[in-house]
């Protein structure tokens, strides 16, 4: 009898202990994430979400070290054109224009990256409002910047995946989907005209919101960046009056072109204190991606196998146009020996030597690849103004704008006496030299409907896969829509093969 009593006592005890599994037992929450609900409930969290976008402008998101932030986009765009020369056959996807293929993994990640930023921006644009706690100024700053990001991304997308914007009109060719909502439904491509209209609409709205607002550092976007972006877009559209006027508006007293001495050692991690830089990502020591940073590909002194084997060179043709008194003559070395480096900078002995390699970009050290990522510089504003004026036939205004920038690089530079096409050519040479490696040249060729011509310079056929020429307007100027987008979006239409 006693054993029966024991048994029942035991069973009841066990039952009490183990049936007391509370409901919360199955409720778990991650520690490395926060709930999406409430991201726009206050300007504090919304600002964190905005800073997330700033950060992903220089952080790895899609695995490969060649896909880190927007910096990889800049140097990849440069690789596709004629002014940046590869010396060695590795990491040649863009040099050989293979990124254009629908199944190419870079093509996919480039496309996804811009839409990822847009999706993050849309949460803020659509979510920050009356319900959000915080001041109106804070809300304006957040939404204004998000709008600029959306415009910036649509602008890059339409330039890569659509036929160029033709200033003569008739831009009803397919552009890219305009994304303004959080949705997983596949959207159809808007026309190129519509995409540019939307880009301008976002920028104009941002200008209103950001006018007069401060910013904490140059990774944030303010009204100057909005105006600068407006000028950049207008130049691409061939809308030269707007390009010139907004380039001027963007140039506030906060910025000034670097002088020659500063320029010699100007592209490193000092963007935040250098008035040349209007918008730039600054990399701190613990936010670095050693092999993926912008500087791990474009600098001369970081010791990655990519740089040791394949230091990036400038086209010998372009180099030979630079005046000997121009500081930029020193940023590429025709011998490749780099005997004239800034103080304290060294290149490892195992680095291979090739002519015309650059020392424009200087990483922290051979073991630390950080170089701040430049998104917008004051010199570009002068170059936009000069080009836009020249293309309108305003030679004097163009020469004057060019002078301010050029004399800062070369104290012997005198006001240009060129006119007409000769002046335009001079401005374009200055533009190519000034913005080398920063992601402009291929887009310039495309917007101006020029051919790719790599002949006669130091390009090697075995490196560029004998891709010396691509005629203007060829299908190859338009990347194919990534296959993954084609597969999942029934409204999507492919570009011509």
């Amino acid at each position: 009898m006693r054993k029966i009593i024991y048994s029942f006592v035991f069973i009841f005890a066990a039952g009490i202990i183990f049936s007391a599994c509370e409901k919360e037992f199955l409720d778990n929450y991650p520690t490395d994430n926060v709930s999406s609900f409430g991201v726009t409930s206050s300007t504090g969290t919304a600002l964190a979400a905005l800073n997330g976008i700033h950060r992903t402008f220089y952080e790895r998101r899609y695995g490969s070290q060649g896909r880190v932030g927007i910096g990889s986009w800049y140097y990849h765009i440069a690789e596709k054109a004629d002014d940046m020369v590869f010396n060695y056959a590795t990491w040649t996807t863009y040099v050989r224009w293979l990124n254009r293929d629908a199944t190419n993994s870079y093509n996919k990640s480039d496309w996804l990256r811009f839409y990822d930023w847009i999706a993050n921006a849309n949460v803020l644009i659509n979510g920050v409002g009356e319900e959000t706690s915080g001041s109106q100024d804070e809300k304006d700053i957040i939404v204004g910047q998000a709008l600029l990001y959306r415009a910036f991304c649509h602008f890059n997308l339409v330039q890569m995946w659509a036929i160029r914007y033709n200033p003569a009109g008739g831009n009803s060719q397919p552009g890219v989907p305009i994304m303004t909502e959080t949705t997983t439904e596949g959207q159809a491509r808007a026309t190129v005209e519509e995409v540019y209209a939307h880009i301008n609409q976002d920028i104009d709205a941002a200008i209103l919101l950001l006018d007069g607002q401060p910013r904490t550092n140059k990774s944030h976007l303010n009204v100057d960046i909005a105006r600068g972006l407006k000028a950049r877009v207008a130049l691409t559209m061939g809308n030269y009056p707007t390009a010139a006027s907004f380039a001027v508006l963007a140039r506030t007293t906060d910025y000034a072109p670097m002088d020659s001495a500063t320029y010699f050692y100007g592209f490193r991690i000092s963007s935040q204190s250098n008035d040349e830089f209007m918008w730039a990502s600054h990399l701190t020591e613990d936010q670095t991606d050693k092999w993926g940073n912008y500087g791990a590909y474009v600098s001369r002194n970081f010791s990655s196998s990519s740089i040791r084997k394949n230091p990036r060179s400038i086209s010998s043709i372009l180099y030979n146009t630079i005046s000997p008194t121009d500081v930029r003559k020193l940023l590429w070395d025709p011998t490749g020996d780099h005997l004239n480096l800034p103080p304290g900078v060294t290149i490892v002995g195992s680095a291979r030597r090739y002519p015309y390699t650059n020392q424009k970009f200087i990483a922290v050290s051979s073991g630390d690849s950080r170089v701040d990522v430049p998104h917008m510089r004051i010199s570009e504003m002068y170059l936009i103004e000069a080009e836009a004026e020249a293309r309108q036939g305003h030679d004097a205004a163009a020469a004057a704008a060019l002078y301010t920038m050029a004399v800062a690089r070369d104290s012997y530079y005198t006001l240009s006496t060129n006119t007409g096409q000769a002046l335009i050519d001079e401005i374009m040479i200055q533009r190519r030299t000034e913005l080398w490696g920063e992601g402009f040249r291929w887009f310039d060729l495309k917007r101006l409907n020029l051919p790719l011509d790599r002949n006669g310079a130091n390009h090697k056929g075995s490196v560029i896969n004998d891709l010396f020429d691509v005629p203007a307007g060829d299908n190859m100027w338009v990347s194919l829509i990534p296959q993954a987008e084609m597969d999942a979006n029934e409204n999507m239409v492919q570009n011509p093969l």
């Binding site: 054993k3 029966i4 048994s7 035991f10 069973i11 066990a14 039952g15 183990f18 199955l26 409720d27 778990n28 991650p30 520690t31 490395d32 994430n33 926060v34 709930s35 991201v39 964190a48 997330g52 700033h54 950060r55 992903t56 952080e59 060695y88 056959a89 040649t92 293979l98 293929d101 996804l112 839409y115 990822d116 999706a119 993050n120 989907p177 959080t182 997983t184 596949g186 959207q187 904490t216 990774s219 600054h282 020591e285 936010q287 050693k290 010791s303 040791r308 195992s350 073991g367 630390d368 056929g461 075995s462 896969n465 004998d466 194919l480 993954a484 987008e485 597969d487 979006n489 093969l497």
Partner: protein
């Protein structure tokens, strides 16, 4: 509810019986064949939980209730005997050997069953099949053991797991891996922490009827591992010591040597400029001269004793006076530089024993294993102790504790790093045959020695781009560290209370902890650490706790036998990770983080996953002829939204022992026949995110000093369990006292698939997990065991099994989903290839031709075929499947007196492999890359008929395109293992004072036959090859001695 009521009624009814008095029965159990007494035989009053076991001398004593009618005597390998009590107080029993194993105890979910009564599909591998094999990870014992189970090949990294699939591929985005249950508790640790010598049995449960009680996690089958326990009787000490050697099991792809390499690359260079027979002779002459002058500049090294511009003549042939120059001759074999003959040393000691009240098992094991790639190894120390104690006749308890520590070096070849640049398999395969390992003076052809007169690795960036320039695998293996140190501790305890004659209440508590400390270091001279060096440490801890309570009821009413179980289970898994990384090494020879300057990573996080379940099962058998089993389980998972978190799973199974029917018993040659069928539903939540339903932003995206977050995923409140519904029908038979077999059919339908549905990338996300899609797996499984010869001294047994598998989608979220090399569509399988269609080589110019997609683009017409040379215009098509037509294994066991030889082959017929590794060796001109001998068949001049395009460095993207060209027959035959053992005769044992001694030689992965030398077919289930650590061949000599 109804079942509960019935149970309660029974409980009351039985309770009333309790007051009746009982009597004591004693007796002795002996073996029919040998006549000796049998210790450890289980003696149970039929239909109750009342029982005991025989002691050392085979005697037992048992208090039985008045109403007890029958005593059952069961013992492993013997037929169960039932004796009617009929008022006797002394009952002896004689047990006969069980030829067909129908009375064999099969470990099942939360209990055991006799094979003959089991309604589900299960295969059990017992310790005798494991103990003589030099296997480090018990997953190796499952390969080939039963039909319907597919296992990936072993990997060369010592101790690595093999992936297992039970009856096809029932999930898409969720996990397809079976659930491991160790000693009754779901196991989240590494299987390689378990010493195979401690394993009593491994049971694979295949159908829903046998797995449904594990409801939530059982969709992909269950692998039950039961560790050894002590047997009552005189204690026994066993020693198992073995020594082995390890080498590479499969050859490497055949690559061309330096004398072929230069002309081939010369040709690639020449043809990029001008092609003979296509371009003008003048252009070809110029291009040839150019190639002769410049090929050295592209390749960077000249291993020959001729001038750099005279290695290849303008005729494209190697200079006839060229020979390998001085030290080059011995310095070009990279594979040899990183491989070795590894050693395997294993020493296990165990002792066990028991009385009728207590049993114990204790073991310690030591293993040291070296892979055939340098610096890949495993050192493992394991310990286990298991004690069971029958405190009173109604209370039993036990404790089972195990600990293991493992240390493993990875030589950067871990399976997860197959794309790593310095994976030695990839590196040595991918390097051209002209590159020296060490620094050689180009002026003399002699090694450049360091101050100590030693050769120095050539770590500079002078090799061509295709030759992993800037990396150096022998150097990085020597100088870097990649080491895992894992400690595992597990403890299980239970308390079992028997009451009211028929009831038993059991509480199980278990705790498992795994701690992994990862040391990773890259040297400052070459590779990812250069310059400056970098170190990474991570510390991860996984704790899992499991509580369950089981109430069992066993009762017999005449010829009706009931066995009911009710239970509750809760499970909690917690994972923590802490990691840090720094760069810029200070002092040499110290790789701790403190010795580095710059912090590049420092973070931590915790994940928690919990489940809870309520379940019940009722087994009923009528007169040992008809068996019925039904089960139900409700499970909640923290991965799903509170509104959708509970899933209900159930099964029914029945078995019919035809051989108990008179009309079968009259047929002489039928010794045994059983029909069984089952249907059931189980669930799956494995392999998806722990917080799958939650909309999240991820932390850690700070911008300078400002806090930053980014969108991680969208909400998925509607997610529910994936469910797996399966039907199983089988016939088990024994004929002529020689042939035993099972023929089985199954169909498994996976519904509500947890599916990472691809999203338009323009949404900013690439996929989202949803419950969409249905697919089924179905197949036939046949297994046969045939005693070809059975005499006193010599026996020969043949076992064979064969499986078919059909996998097909019936519902998908999108019309088609392209996933890597495959495309999913309704009516197609998970592993149907979708590839660009290779056509052949144009005899006119040697171009690679593909079927054209867009016929308005630039195309070539050949006969009636519209073709293209443009990779972007090459058309896709369905091109076969990775799933084989038939797969299985067969083995032969011969025994002659004390000798036994066991040989097992595994095989598959049909299916295709996408041989990416071969593709990478078939480039039409990547300077510096390794090249297959098949490239020698390339097109050279107009009119050449071949399937290898011309060499042309400017066309590598088009000519070497991923296409149907690389699909290869996946059939193989693998001599998976063989063991020869010898039992020392009794006279010697007597002299040695041992009870049994055996010596054996055993080998794993002895021989492989497949369609291409170098191809590793069994890498994964999807049929693609990558640079995984090639399997190793293990040959051991061992000794087992029992005292």
């Amino acid at each position: 509810m109804k079942r509960l009521t019935i149970l309660f009624t029974l409980l009351v009814f039985v309770g009333l019986q309790l007051f009746s008095q009982g009597g004591v029965i004693t007796g002795t159990v002996t073996s029919a064949e040998e006549g000796n007494t049998l210790p450890g035989v289980s003696v149970v009053v039929r239909g109750t939980t009342i029982g005991t076991i025989t002691d050392v001398d085979g005697n037992y004593s048992l208090i039985v209730p008045d109403d007890a009618t029958v005593l059952m005597f069961t013992y492993v390998g013997m037929k169960t005997v039932e004796e009617t009590i009929g008022g006797r107080s002394v009952i002896d029993a004689i047990l006969e050997q069980d030829v067909f194993g129908l009375d064999e105890v099969v470990i099942t979910a939360y209990g055991t069953s006799k094979k003959g009564a089991f309604t589900g599909a299960a295969t059990q591998v017992n310790s005798s099949k494991i103990e003589l094999r030099p296997i480090t990870n018990v997953s190796s014992a499952i390969e080939g053991a039963a039909p319907g189970i597919q296992v990936t090949g072993t990997k060369g990294q010592p101790g690595s797991d093999q992936s297992i699939r039970v009856r096809g591929f029932g999930s898409y985005s969720a996990s397809n891996s079976p659930l491991y249950v160790v000693d009754g508790v779901p196991y989240s640790g590494s299987i390689s922490a378990i010493n195979p010598v401690d394993i009593e049995s491994v049971t694979v449960l295949k159908d829903a009827s046998s797995t449904a009680l594990y409801g939530n996690k059982a969709a992909n089958g269950v692998i039950l591992i039961t560790t050894k326990k002590g047997k009552p009787g005189q204690g026994q000490l066993s020693v198992n010591a073995s020594f082995g050697v390890i080498s590479r099991a499969q050859p490497e792809y055949e690559l061309i040597d330096a004398f072929d390499y230069y002309p081939i690359m010369w040709e690639a260079m020449r043809n990029a400029d001008a092609i003979p027979g296509v371009d003008t002779p003048a252009d070809v002459t110029t291009a040839s001269q150019d190639a002769t002058d410049n090929i050295f500049d592209e390749l960077g090294y000249n291993p020959f004793n001729v001038a750099n511009d005279a290695i290849v003549g303008t005729d494209g042939k190697i200079n006839s006076s060229a020979s390998l120059w001085n030290d080059y001759a011995n310095d070009l074999d990279w594979l040899d530089a990183v491989t070795r003959t590894g050693q395997r040393k294993n020493f296990d000691l165990s002792y066990q024993g028991g009385t009728e009240n207590t049993d114990y098992y204790v073991s310690v094991g030591y293993l040291e294993e070296e892979g055939f790639i340098k610096d890949s190894d495993l050192t493992r120390i394991t310990g286990r102790a298991k004690v069971n104690f029958q405190a009173t006749n109604w209370l039993k308890t036990g404790f089972n504790v195990n600990a293991a520590t493992r240390e493993s070096n990875f030589s950067q070849a871990g399976s997860g790093q197959s794309s790593n640049f310095v994976n030695p398999i990839r590196f040595t395969r991918g390097i051209g045959s002209i590159y020296p390992i060490h620094q050689i003076d180009p002026a003399t052809g002699l090694y450049i020695l360091d101050d100590n007169g030693k050769k120095q690795y050539d770590i500079y960036d002078h090799r061509a781009g295709g030759a992993s320039s800037g990396r150096h695998v022998p150097a990085e293996i020597d100088w870097d560290e990649d080491k895992d140190e894992t400690s595992t501790v597990g403890a299980r305890t239970y308390m079992e209370v028997s009451f009211l004659n028929d009831f038993k209440f059991t509480t199980n508590v278990s705790f498992d902890q795994r701690v992994l400390y990862w040391t990773f270091y890259n040297n400052p001279l070459i590779g990812d650490g250069s310059p400056g060096g970098r170190a990474y440490r991570s510390f991860t801890r996984a704790n899992s706790t499991n509580f369950n309570q089981l109430l069992t009821y066993v009762k017999t009413f005449g010829i009706h036998n009931f066995d009911v179980i009710l239970g509750h289970e809760s499970y909690r898994y917690q994972y923590n990770r802490l990691r840090g990384a720094r760069t810029q090494q200070v002092a040499d020879d110290n790789t701790e983080l403190i010795n580095f300057v710059t912090i590049t990573r420092s973070d931590s996080y915790q994940d928690v996953y919990t489940t809870e379940g309520y379940f019940g099962r009722a087994n009923y058998d009528f007169d040992g002829k008809y068996f019925l089993s039904a089960s139900f389980r409700a499970d909640g998972s923290s991965k799903f939204h509170p509104d959708n978190r509970w899933g209900n799973f159930w099964s029914v199974g029945l078995a019919w022992r035809l051989d108990q029917e008179p009309f079968i018993q009259n047929i002489n040659f039928i010794d045994m026949a059983k029909f069984r069928a089952s249907y059931g539903q189980v669930g799956n939540d494995a392999g998806i995110d722990n917080y799958a339903y939650q909309a999240l932003y991820s932390l850690g995206w700070n911008n300078q000093s400002e806090m930053g977050i980014t969108q991680d995923k969208l909400a998925a409140d509607a997610l529910v369990w994936e469910s797996n519904n399966s039907v199983d029908i089988a016939l088990e038979f024994g004929l002529f006292n020689k042939l035993f077999g099972t023929i089985e059919f199954y169909r498994k339908i996976s519904d509500n698939l947890l599916f990472d549905v691809p999203l338009p990338l323009s949404s900013g996300l690439d996929s989202k997990t949803e419950n969409v899609g249905t697919l089924f797996n179905q197949g036939i499984e046949i297994s046969l065991s045939f005693d070809a010869v059975k005499t006193q001294d010599f026996t020969w047994n043949i076992q064979a099994n064969l499986s078919t598998l059909k996998n097909e989608f019936t519902v998908l979220p999108q019309e088609e989903i392209i996933d890597g090399s495959k495309k999913l569509m309704v009516g197609r399988s998970l592993y149907d290839y979708w590839q660009r269609e290779w056509y052949g080589v144009d005899p006119d110019d040697g171009a690679a031709l593909y079927r054209a997609d867009d016929v308005t683009e630039t195309v070539r017409i050949k006969g009636s075929d519209t073709l293209t040379t443009d990779r972007n215009n090459a058309r896709y098509k369905y091109a076969g499947s990775a799933i084989p037509d038939v797969f299985g294994s067969f083995s032969n066991t011969f025994s002659y007196k004390g000798f036994e030889l066991n040989v097992m082959f595994t095989y598959q017929v049909g299916g295709l492999v996408m041989d990416y590794n071969y593709q990478s060796c078939m480039s039409s001109g990547t300077y510096g890359g390794g090249i297959s001998v098949d490239i020698l068949d390339r097109w050279q001049q107009p009119g050449d008929i071949t399937d290898v395009p011309r060499m042309d460095a400017s066309q590598t993207s088009n000519f070497n395109l991923t296409s149907t060209r690389w699909l290869t027959d996946a059939s193989y035959l693998n001599l998976r293992h063989a063991t020869l053992s010898y039992n020392l005769p009794a006279v010697i044992n007597n002299k040695l004072g041992t009870s049994r001694s055996r010596v054996y030689i055993s080998g794993e992965n002895l021989f492989l036959m497949n369609a291409r030398k170098g191809m590793n077919v069994q890498q994964n289930f999807s049929g693609t090859t990558s640079n995984v650590f090639t399997p190793s061949r293990v040959m051991t000599l061992g000794l087992i001695v029992n005292f």
